[in-house]
């Protein structure tokens, strides 16, 4: 596991390394007038990480570029005023294989997902579930931590959780984690019939025992501290491949994922990245509480996934 990626710095260098053998990841920035995204997209382009196309109202993009001292001269801009037109253009670019991933700028996730993934020409991939995936890097944890789903499926059922796990395991594999350790998060680490979340965790964990899910270890239900803190796992007597050293934590619902992500960003000052995976191409996005560095990390992660998919 010596080549496992454990920091965002390593993710940047790994992304650059893939690019020497393949083409750079081409990105569509939707709602490109948003200053932070515009800035980070241009930074990623200047660092040789991506080749962006900017989609949005041209006059505003230029205005904001000027205000932020950004050079647009080498970039393609597709001038679109309405959000719906921006989305139609973006879908077209993906379908025509002109871009490898999408960056969500000044547009809401809800509108974007509803429009991009509607049939028949949308970006949905049959059998795949779309999921939001966040990665944390924190000094108190010795590896990158993947969390899902904090942004797409409101209250996933068992089948949807399986889809979320599949998406997360794929990304962990790309990061060099061959057999990722997946924790099904709950309020406790034992099974109570009165807590349906613990039952789901147990069922999925059992499916892995039975060989129905491969390429990862799964334990559930687990509480957050048992999943992530070896001393607590030991104190509570939980022995498993996953306890105390999870690579992936699967949240029971969108509210928990969302609040955890924000607590990690605001108060734990974690380095974060977030993407939507499971569609034809990954989508980089971030939350309004994220720093520009975290926006940059999201772009890098999405391009890394896109390049691995190619």
């Amino acid at each position: 596991m010596s080549d496992q990626i454990k920091t965002f710095d390593r993710l940047v260098s790994a992304t650059k390394r893939i690019e020497t053998s393949k083409k750079r990841a081409r990105a569509a920035l939707v709602g490109a007038e948003e200053p932070s995204y515009l800035k980070m997209t241009i930074r990623a382009a200047e660092e040789g990480l991506i080749e962006p196309i900017l989609i949005g109202p041209k006059n505003k993009i230029e205005e904001n570029a000027k205000a932020n001292d950004l050079d647009l001269s080498s970039l393609q801009i597709i001038d679109r005023d309405s959000k719906v037109d921006m989305i139609i253009e973006t879908v077209k670019l993906v379908v025509d294989d002109k871009v490898d991933f999408i960056i969500r700028g000044n547009i809401t996730t809800g509108l974007m997902l509803a429009r991009m993934f509607e049939r028949p020409n949308g970006l949905r991939v049959r059998k795949n579930i779309l999921s939001h995936l966040a990665i944390f890097e924190h000094e108190l944890y010795p590896r990158l931590l993947i969390m899902s789903d904090g942004g797409v499926t409101v209250a996933p059922n068992i089948d949807q959780k399986l889809g979320i796990i599949l998406n997360s395991v794929r990304v962990a594999n790309m990061l060099g984690v061959e057999m990722p350790r997946v924790a099904m998060m709950a309020a406790v680490e034992v099974i109570y019939t009165a807590m349906p979340v613990t039952m789901d965790g147990a069922v999925i964990s059992k499916m892995q025992d039975k060989g129905q899910i491969n390429n990862c270890y799964i334990d559930g239900p687990l509480s957050m501290d048992v999943a992530l803190v070896p001393e607590v796992a030991e104190q509570k007597g939980v022995k498993s491949e996953v306890a105390g050293r999870a690579d992936i934590i699967i949240m029971p619902n969108i509210e928990t994922g969302n609040a955890t992500y924000k607590a990690m960003s605001i108060f734990a000052k974690a380095k974060t990245a977030s993407v939507i995976v499971g569609g034809k191409v990954p989508i980089a996005l971030s939350s309004r509480c994220d720093t520009t560095d975290n926006i940059f990390n999201s772009l890098v992660l999405a391009s890394f996934i896109a390049l691995n998919d190619k």
């Binding site: 809800g110 944390f136 924190h138 108190l140 944890y141 904090g150 942004g151 409101v154 998060m185 709950a186 309020a187 406790v188 009165a194 807590m195 979340v197 509480s223 957050m224 501290d225 992530l228 803190v229 607590v232 104190q235 509570k236 949240m251 029971p252 619902n253 969108i254 509210e255 928990t256 994922g257 969302n258 609040a259 955890t260 924000k262 607590a263 990690m264 960003s265 605001i266 108060f267 734990a268 000052k269 974690a270 939350s287 309004r288 509480c289």
Partner: protein, 312 residues
């Protein structure tokens, strides 16, 4: 207004210095962690304690773990269910101010607390309030309910809210600003929690609860980040300034809270409210400071009950 774990402990010590030293009644006290927590609370001048449980086991544990029992009352009662009832009875007579969980399940303890003979029912929902000293936040952040109700119904959420407001008042917070959680800040059809919390805002406002400001649905960053609140520019008395983040499931509370304990180095204290006396419980995995803060918190809540008795 009390703003940190240190200040919670200091406020309880001040009660003691003013002749209002609290007494906690420990049910089934043969538990090393609980004994250790009670010992340090006693030594720090936070409270007195009556320990109900198996006297021999308590003595053995105190010797094995070098926890002195000096100054603590030990009442020998080897039968656990009787020990619970005796501990609760002491609180019901007013001799003790709070009940603390020892080597007994929470449900068995609460069954004792709610036993009609003791008249400790307050007719409202029992809920657990987590009080976090959160580095980077300008005051305490309460998150509730992470212990009692798996998935509260609307009327239970109202009870949870009232309990949290009570703890807020016991901490000198006025008004107590309550954010009703969601993954969004507006009502979104696909997210039932946003609808329910929008409804709860109306109910709370109609009830006109004194000393309480409520808003929701609100996502965590909108509730707790002044930057995000300013970015949104909406006139909302809770945005960026929440005292209470009221969530909608036990998982939402437990996982979110633990993420802050593990990664943001938050100090956790907790208390169960909704009966006429607070119920304190500490977890084996809480650090000493957290356990001590939980006990001090129960003391402050019980003092608040005493001060407001008869106010209805």
């Amino acid at each position: 207004m009390i703003k940190s774990s240190q200040e919670i402990i200091a406020a309880a010590q001040k009660l003691s210095q003013n002749g209002k030293r609290r007494r906690i009644s420990v049910a089934v006290a043969q538990d090393a962690d609980v004994l250790g927590a009670v010992r340090s609370a006693y030594d720090d001048g936070i409270c007195d304690a009556s320990l109900f449980g198996d006297g021999q086991k308590i003595k053995n544990l105190s010797e094995e773990n070098q926890i002195s029992l000096d100054g603590l009352d030990v009442i020998d009662q080897p039968d656990a269910s009787k020990a619970v009832l005796q501990a609760v009875e002491l609180a019901s007579t007013g001799e003790a101010d709070a009940v603390m969980k020892g080597f007994v399940s929470t449900s068995a303890l609460l069954k004792g607390v709610l036993d009609k003979r003791f008249n400790l029912r307050a007719g409202s929902t029992l809920s657990h309030v987590a009080v976090l000293t959160l580095p980077g936040y300008h005051k305490l952040l309460m998150v509730t309910d992470g212990g009692m109700i798996v998935k509260p119904r609307l009327e239970q959420k109202l009870g949870i809210l009232k309990n949290a407001v009570l703890v807020g008042k016991a901490l000198g917070i006025d008004p107590v600003r309550v954010a009703l959680s969601a993954a969004a800040d507006t009502v979104i059809d696909k997210m039932p929690q946003t609808k329910e919390n929008a409804e709860l805002v109306k109910i709370v406002k109609a009830e006109n609860i004194a000393g309480c400001e409520v808003a929701g649905p609100m996502s965590f960053d909108f509730a707790t980040s002044a930057d995000v609140a300013a970015m949104e520019g909406i006139d909302n008395p809770v945005a960026g300034n929440a005292d209470v983040y009221l969530v909608s499931s036990i998982e939402e509370c437990n996982i979110t809270t633990k993420s802050m304990i593990i990664f943001a180095r938050a100090i956790f204290a907790g208390v169960i409210v909704g009966a006429r006396v607070p119920v304190s419980l500490v977890s084996r995995t809480d650090p000493v400071i957290g356990k001590k803060t939980s006990i001090a918190l129960a003391c402050l809540v019980s003092d608040y009950y005493r001060r407001t008795e008869g106010e209805g």
